[in-house]
Symmetry: C2
C-alpha cells in the first residue's frame, strides 16, 4: 500500500521515488517471501477479540500459544490456526480481559515470532511478541497523551563490586527544570532480570507517567538497578558482547547485592536532585527483588520509610555466609522499632511462594511489625507485578 | 545446563530450587518445543566464520539469508542449511570481514527470527537478528570496557508542530559532574527511521563512547530527534499504541521538519549545559537526514560550523511550497560567505544517489563552497553510515 500523499510526491519527483523504491528493496523482497506487507497481525478488534495471521503455505500445522491460554499439563496452552487456500493461517481469540499479553506461533512445532508485529519483549533468553487489550489494566501502562518523564540508561561506579554498572533512571516530567528535591523509589527486578526488566516487562515508566498525570502519585525518581552483581549490565550492553542470556548467575542471592546497595544510593543522592531523608526513600521489588528489598530495608534498618514486597522470594532459612543474613529477627525488630510508614506485601493466591509469604507474615505478626497485605488472583506473573506497582506507588510519600 | 553454582545452592535450599523451576517453567516448556535450551546460534568462531543452528525436524527446507550474501536478482541472497538425523539444521558461513550483520531463517520459505538469539534490530517494520564479527569495523561500535555516556529518551515541546515530541540524547561520560559547556552534534535519521534509528541501527552511542575513550573525539552531546513531523515518537512509544510501522509518513521532506528544527535546538540549549556558539554546533544525517542537514544548515545559514551529509538524498529540483526550499543557491552562497569549518560529504560508489551527489558537488564547486568528500565501497547501507559517523565525529570541534 502506497500512501496517497506519497503517490502524489512520486509523480512529481522521480528521485524521491527511486529513494523510496531502493530503500524499500530488501523489505519488499522479504515481504514477498513472507506473504505481503499488508498483513496485519495481531489485529485487536473493538470487541476485544484478537485475530492473528501468518502466511505459511507449506506448513502442515500452525498453532498459536498465548499466555492467556490455560496450560496443557506441563506445556503452555495452544490453539490450532485455520489455513485458507492461499496458505494464510488465522486464529481469533475469545474476548480477552484488559492486559498485556505474550504470544508465539508454533509452525510444525517450531516456535517463532510474528514477523508482522515489531513489538517484542525479552524475558531472560526468550523473545515474545506482545499486544495490549484496552481497558482497566492496560490503561495503567499504555502510553497516553500525557507529559512523559525521562528514561535514562546511565552508568555508575560500584566500588563494592569493583565495576562500572548500568542503571535505568526514570525522572518525572518537569524534573529537569524544577527546584525541589524529589523522593526516590528503588525498584528491583527478579531472577533472570536486569535493569531492562521493569521498564520493558513491567512498563514501570508508563505506569509512573500515567499515575503522576492523574494526580494519583507524587512526582518521584524511580531507580532500576541491575540486581545481578556478577553482571555489569543487561546482556548485549557490556563488553561481554552478544551472548546467550542465562537465568541464573554466580553470586545471586548471596548477600553481595545487599552489601553493595549503598553504592547505587550514593550515586543517586550525589547525582540527582533528590532528598536523602528516610521519609523520601522507598524500596520495592518482585520475587528476588522482593527478597532484596526485605533484606536491604532490614539490614539498613533506618533507611526506608516505604517497603514493597511483590511476590517476594522469602527464604527465611538462608544459611549463606553473608553478614546480611545474620541476626534476621533482631534486625527486623530494629527496623520495626525505628519506625516506617508502609510495609506492603502482595502475593497471588496460586503463587508457589504463597506458603513462604504466609509464614513470613506470621513472623511479622509475632514481632508486631505491621504491614499492608494484598492477595490477588493468579501467581508469579508480570500481570500481578504491574498491578502491585500501580497500587503501591500512589501510597508513597503522601 | 544448570550452572554448577546453582546446583550447589539447589542442594542446600529446596525453596530456591522451587523458585528456579517455577519461574523457568514456561521457558523450559518453550525450549522443549523448540529443541533445547543448549543450542547456541549464532556461534562466531575464532577464525571469523559463523555457525547458525535451528532445530526444525519437520521442515523440508531451511535456508539462511544474511546481508553479507550477494543478492539473487531481486531477492536477497540465501544459503541452504543442512539437516542432521535429529532435525537440527546448521550452516557455517565463510570467513566474514568485521562488521555488524543481519540474518534470518527461511523455513520452507517462511522468514523467521532465530529463537536462540535475543539480539534484534528493527528497521521500519522488519525485525532481524544481528551479530558482530570482531575487528576494525566492529571495534568502533562493540561495547568496550570504557566509560559510557548516558542515553536518555526525553520529551520536548515543539510549538511549531503543536506536539510533544520524543528525542534521544547522548551525554558523554562525566557530563553530569563537569562544569564546562559542551558542543552539540544533531544527528538525523533517514526515511523510515525515528529517534531509535541512530542508537540501534547506527550504534551511535557506542561509537561516541569509544572515540571519546580513545581521545579521538571531543566530549560532545549528540541529539537524535525524530525527523518525521507527523510522528510524536517511534512506533509503540506514543499514544498511538502498537501499530504496524510504515516507511513513509505524511509531511515527509516537505520543509516542515526544517522549519520547526529551532524547537529542538531551543530545548537542548535551554535544558543542557551546552554552548550556543556556531563553532560548537554540528549537524549531520543519513539519506533523508542528509537532505535535512543540507537544508537546515543552508536555511539557517549562520548556525552550524560543521555539516555532515551521509549518502544525502539531494533533491535539487524540489518544488515543494515550503519557504525552506526557496532561493536554494542564494542561501547556499550565504552559508558559504558566512563561513564554516567543515562541509563533509560521504557516498558509496554503488549508491543510487551517487549521480545526485555528483551533480550537487558540481553545484558546490560552481559557487566555490569547499567540502571534504569521501567515496566508499558499497551503497545505501548502515555499514557506510556507521563508518561515516566514525570518520566525521573526530573532525568536529577541534
Amino acid at each position: 500500500m502506497i500512501h496517497p500523499h506519497l503517490r502524489k510526491i512520486m509523480k512529481k519527483n522521480i528521485i524521491l521515488t527511486a529513494l523510496f523504491v531502493m530503500i524499500c528493496w530488501s523489505t519488499f523482497a522479504q515481504q514477498a517471501l513472507s506473504g505481503g506487507s499488508d498483513l496485519v497481525s495481531p489485529e485487536v478488534h473493538e470487541n476485544k477479540t484478537v485475530t492473528f495471521r501468518i502466511f505459511a503455505p507449506k506448513a502442515a500445522e500452525v498453532k498459536l500459544t498465548g499466555d492467556w491460554m490455560p496450560a496443557d499439563g506441563r506445556m503452555p496452552g495452544a490453539a490450532a490456526m485455520s489455513k485458507n487456500k492461499d496458505g494464510l493461517w488465522t486464529y481469533t481469540s475469545p474476548v480477552l480481559p484488559s492486559n498485556l499479553y505474550n504470544y508465539s506461533f508454533l509452525i510444525d512445532g517450531l516456535k517463532t515470532t510474528d514477523q508482522n508485529n515489531v513489538y517484542l519483549i525479552r524475558d531472560v533468553a526468550s523473545l515474545t511478541n506482545i499486544f495490549t487489550i484496552p481497558g482497566d489494566r492496560a490503561d495503567r501502562y499504555d502510553v497516553k497523551d500525557v507529559p512523559h518523564g525521562t528514561v535514562a540508561k546511565r552508568w555508575y561506579d560500584s566500588p563494592g563490586n569493583n565495576m562500572r554498572r548500568r542503571v535505568t533512571v526514570y525522572t518525572p516530567p518537569g524534573y529537569e527544570t524544577a527546584k525541589d528535591k524529589l523522593p526516590v523509589l528503588y525498584l528491583l527486578h527478579g531472577m533472570g532480570g536486569d535493569e531492562e526488566a521493569w521498564p520493558a516487562l513491567g512498563r514501570a515508566t508508563q505506569i509512573l507517567d500515567n499515575l503522576i498525570a492523574q494526580g494519583k502519585a507524587k512526582p518521584m525518581i524511580v531507580v532500576m538497578p541491575n540486581g545481578n552483581v556478577a553482571q555489569q549490565a543487561a546482556p548485549g550492553e557490556s563488553a561481554k558482547g552478544f551472548y546467550k542470556p542465562t537465568f541464573q548467575l554466580p553470586n545471586t542471592m548471596d548477600g553481595k547485592f545487599e552489601e553493595t546497595f549503598p553504592d547505587v544510593m550514593k550515586f543517586i543522592e550525589s547525582n540527582y536532585r533528590v532528598s536523602n531523608k528516610k521519609a523520601d526513600r522507598a524500596i520495592a521489588g518482585l520475587s528476588m527483588g522482593g527478597y532484596h528489598s526485605l533484606h536491604i530495608s532490614r539490614f539498613y534498618p533506618n533507611t526506608f520509610d516505604y517497603i514493597g514486597l511483590f511476590s517476594p522470594a522469602v527464604l527465611p532459612d538462608r544459611k549463606a555466609s553473608s553478614v546480611v543474613y545474620k541476626d534476621f529477627e533482631q534486625t527486623l525488630k530494629k527496623q520495626k522499632d525505628n519506625g516506617y510508614r508502609l510495609y506492603w506485601i502482595g502475593i497471588g493466591k496460586t503463587d508457589f511462594l504463597y506458603k513462604n509469604v504466609t509464614d513470613y507474615r506470621a513472623q511479622l505478626d509475632k514481632i508486631g511489625l505491621k504491614y499492608t497485605y494484598q492477595e490477588s488472583e493468579g501467581g508469579h506473573t508480570w500481570t500481578n507485578w504491574r498491578d502491585y506497582l500501580s497500587t503501591f506507588v500512589p501510597l508513597l510519600f503522601q
